[in-house]
Each structure stands twice: as structure tokens, then as C-alpha cells.
């Protein structure tokens, strides 16, 4: 008898199910799960309609504070009527297009830089030009733009300035510190350890205070250093210490074999680190580094305590206006959305980067 060859390709069983089966499997699979589902639905039923009513139906969008109070719903007017102060703060009113344009340039550069295929030399030049133009727009004093004191820089541009520069400068510094901590040279190693442990041992607030209150005491009379710059340096120094420890973790995850293979090819220390070790180590530590960058981004709001008017402070200033008192929830929701957009973009970009760098291992 001839053997029957079963050569038909077997497909996996179809697991598509209907709504009811899905609900049974996911929402009511056990008594406890059913209980949780019912409780959740009850709370949603209680909360969501009221929230929608408050936020959208009863809300006022372009009224005065007094009209808002009469309306009863959410008073988005506090945002719409004060948006220019919340965003731009004390930047001279008629020149506020300048920080706006600077931010548009910044966002365009960030969006272009998302794509790794564009990480070429020209993008570097583009950033240099962009930075120069942004600086010029903020500071003025050239090409007929009136000069604006940096003490007037406030609101969202200030927050972005502190965070974008803080993060981009802190990352390479952190990498250097991590390499220093692994160094075989005792002086470099102990310097890095002392730096990292000291900075991690104090809160950011105390660093900010030091830079704004104590540091000037040590400077000779007549010499002042810009307040923003000092806060900026404090943020960079602080974040770098955290980045350093995360990167060190990544370096330790690379096997000895990778170091040995690089060395046996004759690569010197810098080539070995730049071409072999760091690309792998930094890829491993993308998730924790982005965690640090996100918290550093939010921590820039701590500069309020040294008198800088970042986004949070301009919002608080708006709220202290008697005409708009009592609508803090709406105002804070607005800036929370701004912060969320920033943090969420970073985290979604980090996931995309991880996906793109996946190499089958």
C-alpha cells in the first residue's frame, strides 16, 4: 500500500472570537474578575458623564472670570485669555513672535532628527544654524531686532531652553563620567566616583539654591553670571550624574568577549569604546535613560524656587490675578497637557528607536 504523505501545510487554529466571547474571556473569567469589572463600570458611570459635562458642556471658552463663575462648568477662558502670558511670560508683548518662531524652529529640528536616516553631517550644521537663529531671536540686538534681557525670558521657551540644553549636554557628560568610573587610572576613577556620589547625594533644589545664592558669593565683585545659565549648569550637572550610573550599568552588560574581540583587532581605547562598546551599551540603556530624561524635563519646573519664570511659574502668576482666582484646575490641566506631550513624545520615540536598533539578538 502506498503511504499517504501528509504534505498539506497546517495552519494555526483560528482564534478570532466575537464580542461576547471576548468579554467572557477578558472581563468575566472568574468571580473576582467579574466583581472588578462591575465596580469599574459603576465608577466610570459615576465619573465620566459629570466630567464631560464639566469640561465640555457647561464650560466657558472665551469669557471673563466673572462670567465663568456664573457658568459653573470648566473655565477654559483662563487659558484662552491668558495663553500668551502663560506661554511667553514677560517677553515683550509685541515681540512674542520671536520666541514663537524659535520654538517652531526647535520643533521642526526635533521632528527632522527623529529619523535616523537623516543623522548626517548636514543635520549637524542645520542644528548649529538653528541654534544660532533661535539664540538671535530670543536675545536680539542684531539685524534690527531690539535686544531683550534674558531676565525677560520666561514661560514655555524658558522651560524648553532649560530642558533641551540640559538633556543634550547632560547625556554626553554622563557617558564620560561612566567611562571615567570604569577607568583603570585611579585619579580619573576616583574623581568620577566622588562627583557621581556627591551629586546624587543632594536634591536638585539644593543644587539650584547653591548655584543661585551661594555661587555668586564666591565671585569677585562686579562679575555676575546669568541666572538662567547658572540654573542650566545645575540641571546639567545633576542629570549627568544619574545618566552616568545608568550608562555604567549598560557598560557592565557588555561581555568581556566584545572588549577582547575589539582589542585583538588592534583597535585603540577610543575606537573600541566608540565603535564597539558604547553603541551596544547605550542601546541597552535606552529605557532607563529616557526615564531619567523625562524626569529631568519635569524637574526643570523646580527653577521656580530661584525666581525663574518657567511655564509653571507663569501659570501660577496668572492664577494669582484676582480676576482669575479659583480656576487653578483648568490652568494646571493645560500645562499638564504640555508636559505630557513632551514626555510622551520622548517615550514613544525611545520605543521606536529600540525597535529600529533591534538586531535579532
Amino acid at each position: 500500500m502506498q503511504e499517504v504523505h501528509q504534505t498539506t501545510v497546517m495552519k494555526p487554529p483560528i482564534t478570532r472570537v466575537g464580542v461576547i466571547r471576548w468579554a467572557r474571556a477578558n472581563l468575566f473569567s472568574s468571580v473576582f474578575n467579574s466583581f472588578l469589572t462591575v465596580v469599574t463600570i459603576y465608577f466610570l458611570w459615576k465619573i465620566v458623564p459629570g466630567l464631560i459635562r464639566w469640561a465640555f458642556i457647561d464650560s466657558s471658552w472665551a469669557t471673563t472670570g466673572a462670567q465663568c463663575r456664573a457658568g459653573g462648568g470648566a473655565c477654559w477662558s483662563i487659558v484662552t485669555k491668558n495663553v500668551r502670558f502663560i506661554i511667553f511670560g514677560f517677553f515683550p508683548y509685541e515681540w512674542q513672535w520671536r520666541p514663537l518662531l524659535a520654538m517652531i524652529i526647535l520643533f521642526s529640528l526635533l521632528i527632522v532628527s527623529r529619523n535616523r536616516r537623516y543623522w548626517k553631517k548636514w543635520l549637524g550644521y542645520l542644528w548649529l544654524i538653528g541654534l544660532f537663529v533661535m539664540g538671535l531671536l530670543l536675545k536680539g540686538g542684531l539685524f534690527g531686532l531690539p535686544s531683550v534681557e534674558s531676565t525677560k525670558w520666561s514661560g514655555l521657551p524658558l522651560t524648553l531652553l532649560l530642558s533641551v540644553f540640559g538633556l543634550t549636554a547632560a547625556y554626553p557628560l554622563g557617558v564620560l563620567l561612566a567611562l571615567g568610573r570604569q577607568s583603570r587610572m585611579p585619579a580619573i576613577k576616583s574623581l568620577s566616583v566622588v562627583y557621581i556620589e556627591t551629586i546624587r547625594g543632594v536634591p536638585l533644589i539644593s543644587l539650584l539654591f547653591m548655584s543661585s545664592v551661594m555661587f555668586p558669593l564666591f565671585l569677585p565683585e562686579g562679575i555676575t553670571i546669568n541666572n538662567i545659565l547658572r540654573a542650566q549648569v545645575a540641571i546639567i550637572l545633576f542629570t549627568a550624574a544619574y545618566i552616568a550610573e545608568v550608562v555604567r550599568g549598560g557598560l557592565q552588560a557588555i561581555s568581556r568577549g566584545q572588549y577582547e574581540a575589539a582589542e585583538s583587532l588592534g583597535l585603540n581605547y577610543y575606537q573600541k569604546m566608540r565603535l564597539i562598546i558604547l553603541p551596544q551599551a547605550l542601546k541597552i540603556v535606552i529605557p532607563p535613560s529616557v526615564g531619567i530624561l523625562i524626569s529631568a524635563f519635569k524637574d526643570t519646573s523646580l527653577v521656580v524656587i530661584i525666581g525663574l519664570f518657567d511655564l509653571l511659574k507663569t501659570t501660577q502668576a496668572t492664577l494669582s490675578d484676582p480676576r482669575w482666582m479659583g480656576f487653578s484646575v483648568e490652568a494646571y490641566i493645560f500645562i499638564a497637557l504640555i508636559y505630557f506631550t513632551g514626555c510622551f513624545s520622548m517615550s514613544s520615540y525611545s520605543r521606536r528607536l529600540e525597535r529600529e536598533l533591534y538586531r535579532g539578538t
Binding site: 566584545q258 574581540a261 588592534g266 575606537q271 535579532g360
Partner: protein, 258 residues
């Protein structure tokens, strides 16, 4: 196929030594791993080093390109003495290729990039030329069709052949093999040994830490047996396997030959 190999017993070796190890000792902390090692390797010579695990055989070849530092005695490679001078170490590493047990390819680079890295950055070769050389050697290890893939997508045997090609791209004068087939699945050992035999036919100077008897018999000029940090016995493969002198050699051979 084995008779394609030049008869290694009648093969005339050039007399200049390429590696000279003189009265060399090494310690790991207090542990004396290598004792009084004396070894001269001539150009074109192929030496198999075997011995029980922990006998110091890997450490010995790792000393030759300074992955391990020796504490006493001298090691001279291609006329350059290994000292703490970084420049000398890098120069020697350019001339000495190494193949590892666990391949150690760079997982973030494509196969082609793995091969061109050394020539481009160390030898300062132009990229196009380096790629041409890389393809030549990939062809040689029968794996040119995988050039654009990443190491993680290849089998162990393929990865080890890439690792050999990566060393060859540096045009080394000596090749060190540290148990090149020990981490491989049995069916992949042959493809790697075949590549090594091809290399032998071309007269490459090779120091191989391995227990592959077949390879030793067909390609090696000398077999060294190491135990407890010493070279106990040294002979031609035929004599070594058929007529071992030392008790420990006999014991070792009886254990690996079943």
C-alpha cells in the same frame, strides 16, 4: 581531499621564528597559571595545543596578543617584544588574528561591517577597498551571501566562519584559535574545520587550542600537551597520538578518545 595538503613532514619551514616565548611565567594573583613556557613558532608552522581544562592552554595563546599579561620572561612577536608599551601591543595585535570560542562578532554591525571595521580603523584602508577584501574572504569561507545580515541571524558555524574571515581581513601573520569548535553544535564543526584546513593549505601560521584529533593529524606540524601550566610533551601528531610519552598525556588521551 586531505591529500591536497602539502606533506607537512617534508614541508620546508622558513627558519625565522614569528613567535618566540622565552622562560615565560604568569600568575593570576597567587595562582601560578603558566610555568616556564618556552616555545618558538616558525613562519608557516601549525601547532595544536591540547590539555585538560584549566591547564593554561587558552591563557598561553591569549598572552601572545596581550589579552593576558605575563609577569616573567619574554614574548617576541614578529620581532617586537611585548611590553607595557601600548603602541607595541597595538602593533602586535594588528599582525595577530584571533578566533574565539564564542565567536565574539559585533552584534550591532552587519557581517560586512564586522569585517571592514579593523581594516578601515586600524589599517586605514579606504572603505571600498576594505569591502572588496571583506567580500573576498567571505567568499572564501563560503558565506558571501550573508554579508548584509547581522550576526544574530546566523548559525553558530556561520558566525565562527565570519569570525575567521574577520581576522583574515587584517592580513595577519599569525592566527590564534581559542577552542574554535567547542561552542558549536556537532553538525557545524566540520564546516569550520574545513575553513581552517583551507587556511592551513595556504601556509598560514596557526596556533590552535583544540581537541580535534582529525584536524591535528591532517594539518598540524606539532602537538603540545599542557597540564597544570606546563608544556609536558611536544611531538609530531603521529607520535603524539600513537606513542605518548608522559603518563598524564596517556591519561588525557584515553579520556578524550574513549
Amino acid at each position: 581531499m586531505a591529500n591536497e595538503l602539502p606533506d607537512k613532514n617534508n614541508e620546508k619551514l622558513e627558519s625565522d621564528p614569528i613567535v618566540e616565548i622565552i622562560d615565560m611565567h604568569k600568575w593570576f594573583d597567587d595562582f601560578h597559571v603558566l610555568k616556564n613556557i618556552n616555545l618558538t613558532v616558525h613562519k608557516g608552522e601549525r601547532i595544536i595545543i591540547c590539555g585538560p581544562s584549566g591547564s593554561g592552554k587558552s591563557t598561553l595563546i591569549r598572552c601572545i596578543n596581550r589579552l593576558e599579561e605575563h609577569q616573567r620572561g619574554r614574548i617576541i612577536v614578529d620581532g617586537i617584544e611585548l611590553t607595557n608599551d601600548l603602541k607595541n601591543i597595538e602593533k602586535i595585535r594588528e599582525e595577530v588574528g584571533m578566533v574565539f570560542q564564542h565567536f565574539n562578532l559585533f552584534p550591532h554591525l552587519t557581517i560586512l561591517e564586522n569585517l571592514t571595521l579593523g581594516p578601515i580603523w586600524v589599517r586605514k584602508t579606504a572603505k571600498a577597498e576594505a569591502e572588496e577584501t571583506a567580500m573576498f574572504f567571505l567568499e572564501k569561507v563560503h558565506i558571501a551571501d550573508q554579508a548584509r545580515k547581522y550576526p544574530g541571524q546566523l548559525s553558530g558555524g556561520q558566525q565562527q566562519r565570519v569570525a575567521i574571515a574577520r581576522s583574515l581581513c587584517m592580513r595577519p601573520k599569525v592566527m590564534l584559535f581559542d577552542e574554535p569548535t567547542s561552542a558549536l553544535d556537532p553538525e557545524m564543526i566540520k564546516e569550520v574545520l574545513d575553513v581552517m584546513i583551507d587556511l592551513a593549505k595556504e601556509g598560514m601560521t596557526m596556533l590552535v587550542v583544540s581537541h580535534e584529533m582529525g584536524f591535528a593529524k591532517s594539518a598540524a606540524h606539532r602537538v603540545l600537551f599542557m597540564d597544570e601550566g606546563e608544556i609536558l610533551e611536544e611531538n609530531t601528531p603521529e607520535e603524539f597520538f600513537d606513542n605518548p610519552q608522559h603518563e598524564r598525556t596517556k591519561l588525557f588521551l584515553s579520556q578524550i578518545l574513549h
